[in-house]
């Protein structure tokens, strides 16, 4: 009984204990904040990495390879039919992917040497609007609020994005519409209705030789904002048939098919295998056994290296976080050691009154336990509260300090991302308790070892 009673009494009476508690409080709060914000960042980064990739990507072999080159596969409808017949598939969208350069005749100033040359790389993506909307979040990208400091040029009718922009005044022959990435549009000063010339080269599938470059004028019907930096900077969407026609392909040509699943986590492994087998049997893909060809894969497999980097970052973070715990534990260790020296006489008295070394030890461990419990509980409250409102806290602090703490432009985030991970929080609390008690063992053990006669000798 006295352990319980005295530990609480000592806790209350000795002000130094509050320092230890404050240390644990600050440690736990900081850890929860850091964990939540880092998790938020990593989640966002994962989303960015995914970009406009769908759950699963089908990239069939080229149609008729000649000297290692070939034309994109044809007969998209046949392939889509096979894909869509699978009940696990929610939606699928064919894409024609090519590269070109955008010519910046109408640019007012040039930021770099390449721009002075008047060209910049563009990722040309031909889409079927309806299918694309179903399989990716392109529609949301077009509707998204502009990044701070920019203005988006939303298509006049988002559901018919390739309609000629209202008030379009063609300089010559009326051009086909394109949707450009927000950052590309901003960098090149492309307003809705502006005409832009795109240059590309194609390959003759028969000979495998590069044909003469071709160029054509297009009109900007709007911009999109995926928040995925490289996409917003390079990508241009076309109607797939328009792009195919310009590149000299047939209407049913395509480069890849994006597949969206009902239950990605549950089905991702099985569906990539099943689709690989089915599409191989239909003659679209190589044998799934062939190690050279990896034609059906999840978006995670597609971005494997970068995702691995994120996971790596997470475990590094864990190691750093545990260091903070050790600091908090050391804080308690120092305070408790001080207390044991201060309370030598009390320890002797307790022994004389019938206290056992074990009891004395648990008395001091209990003090550490209360400190950890109170500190960690308050830390959880403050940490979770802070993580939930980090965005407004930062805005408030920035306004007060008159200094932008978190520059949202740098990360292309509208807000500071933060995710409360319940298991993570539980681990932090458990870690704080274990770490504190482990450190408290040493002074508690010293207290138990104290010779009562020594401890009682005078004051």
């Amino acid at each position: 009984m006295y352990r319980f009673f005295l530990s609480l009494r000592y806790l209350r009476a000795r002000k130094t204990n509050w320092i230890g508690m404050a240390g644990i409080f600050v440690g736990v709060t900081a850890l929860i904040l850091i964990l939540s914000i880092m998790s938020g960042f990593l989640n966002e980064s994962r989303k960015h990495l995914r970009g406009n990739l769908s759950d699963v990507l089908v990239q069939p072999m080229l149609d008729y390879p000649i000297k290692g080159k070939g034309a994109p596969r044809r007969d998209v409808d046949a392939l889509l039919e096979i894909v869509r017949s699978d009940p696990r598939v929610a939606a699928s969208a064919p894409q024609m992917v090519w590269y070109g350069m955008i010519s910046a005749e109408n640019k007012e100033f040039y930021a770099s040497d390449q721009e002075r040359g008047g060209l910049a790389v563009a990722n040309l993506v031909g889409i079927d609007v309806e299918a694309e909307f179903a399989a990716t979040d392109l529609r949301e990208s077009m509707l998204r609020e502009p990044a701070p400091g920019t203005t988006t040029q939303r298509p006049a009718d988002v559901d018919d994005p390739f309609a000629p922009p209202p008030g379009y005044q063609p300089r010559g022959f009326p051009a086909e519409s394109i949707i450009v990435g927000e950052r590309l549009g901003a960098a090149w000063g492309l307003q809705r209705g502006a005409e832009v010339e795109i240059v590309t080269a194609t390959i003759d599938p028969e000979s495998g030789r590069t044909r003469d470059p071709i160029n054509q004028t297009f009109v900007v019907a709007g911009t999109f904002r995926s928040s995925h930096n490289s996409m917003d900077l390079e990508r241009i969407y076309f109607d797939r048939r328009v792009l195919a026609d310009w590149l000299g392909r047939e209407d049913d040509a395509f480069s890849q098919v994006l597949v969206k699943l009902h239950d990605y986590e549950g089905d991702k492994r099985a569906i990539t295998e099943d689709l690989g087998v089915k599409l191989h049997q239909a003659g679209f893909l190589h044998s799934p056994e062939s190690p050279l060809f990896d034609e059906v894969k999840t978006w995670e497999a597609f971005r494997r290296t970068l995702l691995a980097a994120i996971e790596n970052e997470k475990s590094l973070m864990g190691i750093m976080l545990s260091l903070v715990m050790i600091v908090a534990g050391f804080c308690v260790f120092a305070i408790l050691s001080m207390m044991v020296s201060e309370k030598r006489r009390d320890i002797g008295i307790l022994c004389a009154l019938g206290g056992t070394p074990k009891g004395i030890m648990s008395l001091f461990l209990l003090i550490a336990f209360w400190e950890a419990l109170i500190g960690a509980s308050l830390g959880v409250v403050a940490g979770v509260w802070g993580a939930l409102r980090i965005d407004s806290i930062e805005r408030w602090l920035s306004a007060k300090l008159n200094f932008q703490i978190f520059d949202r432009k740098v990360y292309l985030f509208d807000h500071i991302p933060s995710v409360i991970q319940v298991t993570g929080v539980a681990w932090i609390v458990a870690g704080a308790l274990v770490c504190t008690l482990a450190f408290a063992m040493i002074p508690a053990w010293r207290a138990a070892k104290l010779d009562p006669v020594e401890a009682l000798r005078f004051e």
């Binding site: 009984m1 009494r9 009390d346 307790l350 009682l456 005078f458």
Partner: protein, 256 residues
């Protein structure tokens, strides 16, 4: 029967009433390591304390009185020899049992009171009961112990001081709280090492009156160390100690 009779007879023989031996040291030696030498302080002490006896231990400073008391109070282990509490050899017990024995059988009163500074007078007096019981049993017995402590503290004239911390009490008051603490669990033995050594004569006298009164009414075995001759006269048995040996015992005089 015949084999063991020798020892038993010696123990119970001394008088016809056969007073009960509650605490005994037999052949106790205690030496300390000082630097790389061993310094022997007690050179084989035999001392027995009987039930309801008032024993006064005297001797010049450094004679080893406190050292002996620590050993008799089970706080210190003799280098050699035996200590028995109610005929139980205490150093053959486990740590926990010995602590329980100390808690139940021996009350301590120190020269410097040794109250816990964070606890009130009442809480200090209740401490032995808190140590004796788990949280659950203490809760169920709390009222009984509190009444007992209140009764004692009131009798000792501390009714107005119950919630005071030791720092707010005078020396005499602190020592009276310490006596209440020592008596809370009704131990048969009370060990007091110069309980008035830190008090002025008048206060010391009052504290001693109180101590002796409790000793008499409870039939306590009191083992008292003092330098005060007048005080010693009030004890029925006086033991003189010098240089770590018993020199004279008014009960069973040791020839030398």
């Amino acid at each position: 029967m015949v084999d063991s009779s020798t020892e038993t007879n010696e123990q119970t023989a001394p008088s016809q009433e056969a007073p009960e031996r509650v605490l005994a040291a037999t052949g106790v030696r205690r030496s300390f390591k000082v630097g790389d030498r061993r310094l022997e302080i007690l050179h084989g002490v035999d001392l027995e304390l009987y039930r309801a006896e008032r024993l006064c231990l005297m001797g010049s400073s450094g004679a080893g009185k406190t050292t002996l008391l620590n050993i008799l109070g089970l706080l210190d282990r003799p280098t050699e020899g035996e200590v028995e509490v109610e005929n139980v050899r205490v150093w053959q017990l486990g740590q926990a049992q010995r602590s329980r024995l100390r808690n139940a059988k021996i009350g301590f009163v120190f020269q410097f009171y040794h109250l816990l500074a964070e606890l009130s007078a009442l809480e200090n007096a209740l401490l032995p009961a808190m140590i004796a019981h788990s949280a659950a049993t203490f809760r169920s017995k709390r009222a009984g112990y509190t009444n007992k402590a209140l009764e004692m503290l009131t009798r000792f004239g501390l009714a107005e001081r119950l919630t005071h911390r030791p720092g707010q009490l005078s020396g005499g008051e602190q020592q009276r709280v310490a006596i209440a603490r020592a008596l809370l669990l009704d131990p048969p033995i009370l060990i007091a090492d110069e309980p008035t050594g830190n008090l002025d004569r008048a206060t010391g006298e009052k504290v001693l009156d109180l101590l002796f009164e409790e000793q008499e009414t409870r039939g306590l075995s009191l083992l008292l160390v003092t330098h005060d001759e007048r005080l010693a006269k009030r004890c029925e048995r006086i033991v003189h100690m010098e240089d770590g040996l018993i020199q004279a015992d008014s009960r069973t005089p040791i020839p030398h």
